[in-house]
Structure formats: C-alpha cells, structure tokens
C-alpha cells in the first residue's frame, strides 16, 4: 500500500515536473526517460534472459535512423515514425537472434560487439539513405495548440509518457508466462526445455523485444535532438548501455530506471570531477599534454564498472534488498508477529 502511494506521488511529480523546470532540465529529463527505455530493453535480454549484448548501440542507431528516414521520406506523423524505428530495430534483433541461438557467453559478446562496430560504418557507407557523415535532420514534433506547452516541455512529455508505458509493460511482461520462461531459460536451459519451454522461440523473442525497446528509444532520441549522425552511435554507446544496466542492477525494473538516471547525470557532474582529478594529478607532477579531461569520463565509467562487478554484483538495487534484510534481522521486533496468531496471546 505504501509502495502504491509512493509510486503515485512519483508519477505525479514526474508528470508535472516539465512545467516547472527550465529547458536544459527538460532535456536531461527526456534523456533519462529515453535511457530508461533502453535499460529496460537491455535488461530484458541480459538481466532476465541472460544473453550478453554489446551491440545495443546498433539497435539504437537503427531505431533513430529508421524513424528519421520514414519521417523525411514519407512524412508520417511522429508517433508512427518512432514506432517504425522500433519495429525496424526489432526485426534486426529478431534476425540476429537466430544465429545467437547457437552462441553463449563470450561468443555472443564477440558477435554483438562486431555488430556495434559494423553498423556505424554501414551508416557512413549508405550515404544516399543516411546522409553519411552529415547525418539526417528531422523536424521536431510541434506541441498541440491550446495546451500552451513549449517545445522542450512537449518533448519531455513524449519521452516521459513513453518511458512510463514501457515500464508498465515490462513489469507485466516479466511477471507473465514469457517472463517466467526467459528466467527459467537463463537459470537452466536444460531444465527449462525439459518442462516444455521452447528455447528458440523465447530467445529470439527476447532479442527482438529488447531490440524493439532500444529502437523505440533511438526514435525518441532522433526527435529530441532533431538531428542524428553516425558518431552518436559508436561502440562506447553500447558500453554505456551495459554500464547503466549493471550499475542499476541486472534483472530489475527499478535498477533499469536508477541506472539510466545515473548514466545521464554522471557526465554532467563529471566535468567538474575530471577537472578536479586533473588538478590533483598536476599537483603530484603528472601533467598531461592531452589536456582534454573531458574524455576521462570513460575512465570513471570503467572504474565504476569494475568496482560494481567486484563489490556489488547485484547493482545499486541490491543495496536496497541488503538494507531490507539487515533491517529484518536487526531492526526492532515487529508487533505484527503477535497479531498474526492471536491464540498465542490469549
């Protein structure tokens, strides 16, 4: 019950926030929503069904370009374009899902890594369709008349509502027959197959669904920025995605949201952080000629990834569970225990 109330309050806060915050904050909020959708998708694949993907940057790109191309060529309304981007990525995911049936662990990671590298290069190659290095422009959705919303507010609403729908879908999906099948396959393929779970069907389904989420997010990003280019979809994007899922917590919806929020906010904080780090290094006599401390954000990601994997494999969400367990063991004794069995008292 308390959870319900908190959730409602959170949703209301989020839905009213775009009205009161400035343009930049709306942009950050939109990006958090977009990254949440990606994190949910990647978590379905990596967290719930146990398949590693280093190639989600590729699906992200396919979604973004799919949406932009449909918008520019066919002039469809934006919801349809975003959906098309998602479906295009989903199809790509489904196709990749088939060969992936034979791959496990490191092999799957290698294959998807190759995809992540190949797609940005393919974007450069098929210039007629993708605009090559120049990228593609697309016109951002106009806020409906009469609501009195500014452009950035309207975009934030689009992203937020989509993310909320996807969260709701995911929560239901992982509790459904499909979710249970995926988890069963992750924990033991043989046992799951023995009780009649189709390996091929559910693994390809997981890939397709995960790619669909990511493509949808790509489409949202294309509209949020109004401009996309191949250099926004390099391998580091795929690593960024994996980082957020791992930091937040694998196989957890809440973890996906937390991870997405952190990965969006971290670079904003880190420009100060890396400056500070550079000054510290200068103090001990290690002055660098590269002089761009901006790139050091990736070193920080790397350190965080390793630290989380070594000390907190369950991600930040597991902290909550740990705290809860600790509370249950050492906290004040609950009064409810007596109330459950009134006979004992009497």
């Amino acid at each position: 019950m308390v959870g319900r109330i908190l959730l409602t309050v959170l949703v209301i806060c989020l839905l009213t926030a775009p009205l009161f915050i400035n343009q930049f904050a709306n942009f950050v909020l939109s990006r958090m929503a977009i990254y949440t959708v990606v994190a949910l998708g990647l978590n379905l694949l990596t967290g719930y069904s146990g398949q590693i993907s280093l190639g989600h940057g590729a699906f992200f790109a396919i979604g973004a370009y799919g949406a932009a191309i449909v918008a520019n060529r066919l002039g469809l309304p934006w919801p349809l374009c975003i959906l098309t981007g998602g479906l295009a990525a989903g199809l790509a995911g489904y196709l990749l899902g088939w060969p992936s049936l034979r791959l496990t662990g490191p092999y799957l990671a290698i294959a998807t890594l190759a995809l992540a590298v190949a797609v940005p290069q393919a974007l450069l190659k098929f210039e007629d369709l993708t605009g090559g290095v120049q990228g593609l422009k697309l016109s951002q959705p106009q806020p409906p008349l009469g609501l009195g919303l500014a452009q950035d507010q309207w975009l934030a609403y689009i992203c937020l509502v989509t993310a909320m729908i996807m969260v709701w879908l995911t929560v239901n999906l992982v509790r459904s027959r499909i979710g249970r099948a995926l988890i069963a396959l992750r924990d033991s393929e043989i046992a799951a197959q023995a009780v009649g779970v189709s390996l091929a069907r559910f693994k390809t389904l997981a890939f397709a669904t995960s790619a669909f989420y990511t493509g949808l997010a790509g489409g949202l990003l294309a509209y949020l920025l109004g401009y996309i280019a191949p250099d926004a979809f390099t391998l580091v994007v795929s690593i960024e995605f994996l980082t957020m899922v791992v930091i937040g917590g694998l196989a957890s919806v809440a973890g996906s949201i937390i991870g997405a929020a952190i990965i969006v906010v971290l670079p904003l904080l880190s420009s100060n952080l890396t400056d500070y780090l550079a000054r510290l290094l200068n103090l001990v006599g290690l002055s660098a000629i590269g002089a761009t401390t901006k790139g050091l954000i990736w070193a920080i990601y790397g350190v965080i990834l390793i630290l989380v994997m070594v000390f907190l494999p369950g991600g930040l969400v597991s902290l909550y569970h740990k705290a809860k367990n600790l509370w249950a063991r050492t906290g004040p004794v609950k009064k409810a225990g007596a109330g459950d069995r009134p006979g004992e008292r009497g």
Binding site: T104, Y107, I110, A114, K125, G290, G302, M309, V310
Partner: protein, 296 residues
C-alpha cells in the same frame, strides 16, 4: 585470368599476410587467456595500444634507443598484464561470464580514456627500424615494412611455441589451461600461472601494437579495428587453439585484403562482423578448435 591479374592478386595476399600477422599476434594473446581462464579479454587491444604509447614515450620523449625501449616496454606490458589479472580479474574469476566480460570492458574504457587524456587523439607516427622501401621478389613488389612485420610475427610465434612446448614453465601453463584441478594436485601454483599467462598475453599485445603502429599510426582508437579482426581470426581458428589463432589471423588478413581489392574497400569494415557470425553459426568451435562436451 591474365598474368597481370594473378600478380596483383599475389600482391594482395602478401600485404594481407602482413596485416594478418598482427591480427594473429593479438588473436594469440586472446587465445592464451581464453584457454587458461575462459575469459575473453575485450581490453586486449587497448592494453596493446597503451603499451605502444609507453614505447612511443620512451622513444620520443626520453630519447631511449630503439631496442632498450622495446625491452622496457615489454617489461612494462608484462607487469601490466600480471597486475590486471591479480587485482581486477581474480576477484571475479568464479563469477558468471557476464561479470568477467563487463570487467574487461571496464578496463577497455579505462585504458582508452587515460591514453587519450595523456597523449591526446592526434595520430602520431611511430618509429620503426625498417621504414619505407620495397624489394622485388618473384615479380612482386613487397614493402619492406610488410616483410618486417610478417617476419617479426613469425619469429614471435615460433618462440612462443617453443616456450610452451619445451620449457617447464610453458608445460606448467599448459597444464593449468588443460585441467586446473589436476595441475593444482601435482603442485603447480595455479594462481601464479594465470597471472603469468596474462603477463605474456600483454607482451604479445605490446609486440602487435608496436608492429602495427608504424603502419596505422598511433592513437587511442588504433586497436579497435585490429581487435575486431583479431577476434574474427581467433573465432575462425577456434578460441581454444593457439595454432588456430595464428592460422585464423593470417587468413583474416588475406581475406580482408582480397575483398578490399576485388569488391570494395568500404565493405571491409562489415566483413569482420559477417565472418564472425558465419563461423559461429556454421562451425562454432572454429577450424582448429575442439568441442568441449559438457556434462549436465
């Protein structure tokens, strides 16, 4: 096919072998680690790049002569690999594959970004004892640099083979890769062997980096493409076979060059992806790998 076409084809094969020997060295480094620890080191290429930058710094900033600089770099690479295994990889040794993959990706980020911060992203030339110039050989024009890369690569591979087969240490390392429990039972310090394996792999990577740098220029992202082809080579040859890694790496180099010459240069980039996918689907154990049967 006319004689001219045949010659230009042979030309492509030779330069393919030169590129291939770099892939082969890095693939060998990957396989050495994979064999003994079941870890695919995604940071292998970045570690190679980082150590190559160390060599560059010694050579150009401190004016160390070539051979001592190479020797110092190899020592550094060995220590780096040894420490990485001991400090970062060991704690997740028993963890699921995903954790290990993520840890090596973390290393990838760290090395890439620190190198960019220290040395910048402007491509740099890397000195080589053999520079430009060509020799004529059976009607082929062969770049001296290509020949030098190929020669060095082959020498290193032979040395590694001898080390693994003929020395006690090499035998102990192979024993650990083959059966860890049995190795421990006969008194081999397994942990130290694993660290040594990472150290040697990092050295192989450093050699690959230093050989590649005069050709592809030194910059933090130089190894991204090379690593991908090394993966393709390792997968093609079989991740569990050092010989396969060499053969696979060389083959990938040749295929890459032939495809670039015959079809289109732009297609080369996607090649690694399709090659990896095709091999994994058709013959997942690779050309020379062995199939591990798992008990369930």
């Amino acid at each position: 096919m006319t004689e001219g076409q045949l010659l230009s084809l042979a030309q492509q094969v030779v330069s393919g072998l030169s590129a291939g020997s770099i892939y082969a060295l890095l693939a060998l480094a990957l396989v050495l680690i994979y064999q003994s620890t079941d870890v695919v080191n995604f940071a292998q290429g970045e570690m190679a790049m980082f150590t190559t930058f160390i060599a560059y710094t010694l050579l150009t900033w401190y004016g160390v002569p070539f051979l001592p600089a190479v020797a110092l770099t190899l020592v550094f690479a060995f220590l780096l690999g040894y420490l990485v295994e001991r400090v970062v990889v060991r704690p997740v040794e028993e963890a699921p594959v995903l954790s290990v993959v993520i840890v090596t990706l973390g290393l990838y980020s760290i090395f890439n970004s620190v190198a960019g911060w220290v040395w910048g992203y402007v491509p740099k030339g890397f000195p080589s004892p053999i520079s430009g110039g060509t020799v004529w050989f059976l009607g082929l024009t062969v770049g001296l640099l290509d020949l030098w890369i190929l020669g060095c690569g082959l020498v290193i591979m032979v040395l590694l083979h001898l080390f693994l087969r003929r020395t006690t240490l090499g035998t102990a390392m192979r024993a650990v890769a083959h059966n860890r429990t049995a190795a421990r039972l006969v008194g081999i310090p397994v942990g130290r062997m694993l660290s040594l394996g990472w150290g040697f792999s990092a050295m192989l990577g450093a050699i690959a980096g230093m050989l590649a740098a005069p050709k592809i220029f030194l910059e933090p992202n130089m190894m991204a493409g090379v690593l991908l082809y090394a993966f393709a080579g390792a997968v093609l040859g079989g991740l569990s076979s050092p010989f396969g890694a060499i053969a696979g790496g060389l083959l990938v180099g040749v295929i890459e060059n032939l495809l670039g010459a015959l079809v289109a240069t732009e297609l080369k980039s996607g090649l690694a992806f399709f090659m990896i996918l095709a091999v994994l689907v058709v013959r997942p154990q690779g050309l020379f790998g062995t199939v591990h049967r798992r008990k369930v």
